[in-house]
């Protein structure tokens, strides 16, 4: 997952970015003013925008309104030092999804960020299931048919992203954009290695591979027909 952090207080931004990278393993981009933040958000590659309100050049509220005006539906978490009710109401009515008032708890920032991303992808439960594949975002553990699978952080992140969009074709570029911060281009070669490792680890045992590699189009997380069918029945 990739997060855009717009915060002018450098030290605070460093800490939040560090926590987000360290904890849930998000890729974090940092903008120091509202204008830069708005420009970065234009790439539409973010799963969440964390926005401070008091920003130079363009204040947070304006950034938020511009985002919503151009039909950007990325989840927005506001960080504010103003905790008056009226300003919070105004924020939420202007299209914010959640807010935290300063000084906040880093753990809470991470939890809210995860919840917002999950909701943004249309999932309610912190545990993602597809067939016999289970992914717990809380402790970042993965199970297949009840058997734990040990993944590297990058492999986990790729799987998490794909699990959020099952059966859809995810381009290599999109995957890269959401896994790494702005210098993702440098990682374009390694992503293939990570995906092939992931496929190998998931496919261990008797089942056929579950991540399809569609040449020049991208990757797709699919389940074997029978398992897939079962999953459908189960959900029905």
């Amino acid at each position: 997952m990739r997060v855009l952090l717009v915060e002018d207080e450098i030290r605070l931004a460093e800490n939040v970015a560090h926590a987000l990278r360290d904890g849930p393993g998000f890729a974090v981009d940092h903008a120091e003013d509202g204008q830069t933040g708005l420009d970065l958000a234009e790439n539409l590659c973010y799963d969440l925008i964390i926005l401070d309100l008091m920003l130079p050049k363009l204040d947070g509220l304006t950034v938020l309104r511009r985002l919503r005006e151009r039909r950007d539906s990325t989840a927005v978490l506001i960080l504010t030092a103003r905790s008056e009710r009226s300003s919070i109401i105004q924020l939420l009515n202007s299209g914010a999804d959640d807010y935290l008032s300063k000084p906040f708890d880093l753990g809470e920032v991470i939890a809210r960020a995860k919840a917002l991303i999950r909701r943004g992808k249309g999932m309610a439960s912190p545990a993602l299931r597809l067939g016999d594949l289970e992914l717990h975002t809380g402790d970042q553990s993965v199970f297949r048919a009840g058997m734990p699978i040990v993944l590297s952080p990058m492999e986990y992140r790729i799987l998490e992203y794909l699990m959020h969009r099952p059966r859809a074709i995810v381009s290599k570029r999109e995957l890269l954009e959401h896994m790494y911060d702005f210098n993702w281009v440098h990682h374009s070669n390694v992503i293939e290695a990570h995906v092939s490792n992931l496929r190998r680890k998931l496919g261990e045992g008797t089942n056929p591979p579950t991540i399809e590699n569609l040449r020049n189009r991208g990757y797709r997380l699919v389940m074997e027909y029978t398992t897939f069918k079962e999953a459908e029945d189960e959900s029905a």
Binding site: E9, I10, N15, P56, P103, L106
Partner: protein, 487 residues
């Protein structure tokens, strides 16, 4: 001072004036009344004395004596009279025992006041001529009589008193009527004032203006008061808003600072780390909390400076150049670290009267700012000069300058021309606000002049102490300081 009622005072004053004129009127009227009544009495006396004269008859005796005849009903019973003929014989009298002495007295005034038997009389002395036997050949005998006729003055005074009583009573009635009417009129006339009071009573922190329909606005006497109240309210509201803005900004800054420290600590405890990581993390937290400390210290400095109230006991005569050189010396290390050369030009003697610590703070704020906004290899110049009655301090840098739209805000509290940059350099956004507060305290002026891309200069002017003044003579300098205040 005791409170008093304006209405009551006015009414009392008017009534007092009225009472005085009333008294004067009564005085004049009573004199007039007394005079006219006594004139009337005198006329009556003359008439009665004449009728007494008419009663003087020839006694028809050989001595040609005179007698009074037919005196019954001639004079009112209460009057007194005595008649004497030219032979010294009393020929008649009424109610006047001892009247002879009076006749004998040498007092020949026509009217006089006498007391007879304890009663006061007004007495007319009437010399009369009676011709006895006017029908005989010699044309009769002329006999001179003297008549003293007196009438009681008591009834006259009674009438005068009645007249006075009438005047007094009607005057009193007038006073009461005036009082009541005046009270009503004043009540009505002061209505705009009462309204103003009521409206002023409704002023509070949440409602800062008098009612728009204030009738007082159209009263010439009250209009200045209304405008004074309104302008005072406006100033108060502005200063309240400013204060609120400051508190809100300060809260925001402090919350952000606390958020930094808190998140730094939480980041450390999120998972177990190596001793080295902890050490580095704690160092960062220390730096963060030092920044918070600096912010709090600066906020307190600013609050204290803006609290107003001069403390002249801490004021000294200070040589601006000395202070500047001293401060520049402190910054030399920082300047050389950034490869910036620091030049001080303060040859002229410039004495200013102020708190040396605050002057030091001002110089160090300006030099620090200049160094922060200068690139490596440039120069920062601090120049002291005197111009007329003003000392001038200029701190120039060759930095990137300040955009024109930012320039008007640089002295605002917590304002950062380029926030991301100043945050990185550790600014609190209070330095220039503090500098301005210091300069204003000494009735000086401060402004920034900037040429974007070429540098900025901060120009401070402070009132100069004339160099002729002795350094030790505090009294004169203080007088000077008070006298030459121009800002």
């Amino acid at each position: 001072m005791k409170t008093y009622s304006l209405t009551r005072r006015l009414i009392t004053a008017v009534l007092l004036v009225e009472l005085c004129s009333l008294l004067a009127l009564i005085g004049i009227a009573s004199v007039y009344e007394a005079i006219s009544h006594f004139r009337a009495l005198d006329v009556v006396l003359r008439g009665r004395a004449d009728s007494v004269l008419g009663a003087v008859q020839d006694a028809e005796d050989p001595e040609d004596n005179l007698m009074l005849y037919g005196t019954e009903g001639l004079a009112p019973k209460r009057d007194i009279y005595i008649v004497r003929d030219d032979r010294g014989r009393v020929i008649g009298s009424q109610g006047w025992p001892g009247g002879e002495q009076e006749l004998a007295s040498t007092d020949t005034r026509e009217f006089r006041n006498l007391t007879v038997g304890g009663i006061r009389y007004r007495v007319l002395r009437r010399p009369g001529l009676r011709v006895v036997d006017p029908g005989d050949a010699k044309g009769g005998v002329a006999r001179h009589v003297i008549i003293l006729y007196g009438s009681r003055t008591h009834p006259v005074w009674e009438r005068v008193r009645n007249a006075i009583a009438f005047y007094a009573l009607s005057g009193l009635l007038l006073l009461v009527i005036t009082g009541v009417v005046l009270l009503r009129l004043l009540r009505g006339g002061l209505q705009p004032l009462y309204e103003l009071v009521e409206q002023a009573g409704k002023i509070s922190v949440t409602s800062w203006n008098l009612g728009p329909s204030s009738q007082a606005r159209y009263v010439r006497e009250l209009e200045p008061l209304v405008s004074a109240i309104e302008s005072a309210l406006l100033r108060l509201e502005q200063s309240f808003a400013q204060q609120r803005q400051f508190v809100s900004d300060a809260a925001h800054e402090l919350k952000t600072s606390v958020a930094v420290v808190k998140s730094s600590l939480q980041l450390l405890t999120m998972r177990t780390r190596s001793a080295k990581e902890y050490e580095e993390g704690l160092e960062r937290v220390t730096v963060d909390s030092e920044r918070m400390e600096e912010l709090v210290a600066k906020m307190l400095t600013l609050a204290r400076l803006e609290e107003g109230g001069e403390q002249p006991e801490s004021y000294r005569i200070v040589e601006l150049g000395d202070v500047l050189r001293d401060v520049a010396e402190h910054f030399r290390t920082l300047a050389s670290f950034h490869r910036i050369s620091l030049a001080v030009n303060a040859d002229t003697s410039t004495l200013v009267f102020c708190d040396p610590d605050q002057l030091r703070l001002l110089c160090s704020n300006l030099i620090h700012n200049a160094i922060q906004h200068s690139g490596a290899g440039t120069e920062v110049r601090a120049i002291v000069s005197s111009q007329g009655e003003l000392a001038q301090l200029i701190v120039e840098d060759d930095g990137e300058g300040i955009p024109e739209d930012v320039l008007p805000h640089v002295f605002d509290r917590f304002y950062r021309g380029d926030p991301s940059r100043s945050r990185r350099t550790g600014g609190t956004g209070l330095g220039l606000a503090i500098s301005k507060a210091i300069v204003l305290r000494y009735h000086g002026a401060i402004r920034l002049k900037s040429n974007p891309g070429h540098g900025t200069s901060a120009i401070v002017t402070l009132p100069l102490v004339p160099s002729t003044t002795q350094r030790t003579d505090h009294r004169t300098t203080r007088n000077f300081e008070k006298g030459a205040v121009t800002s």
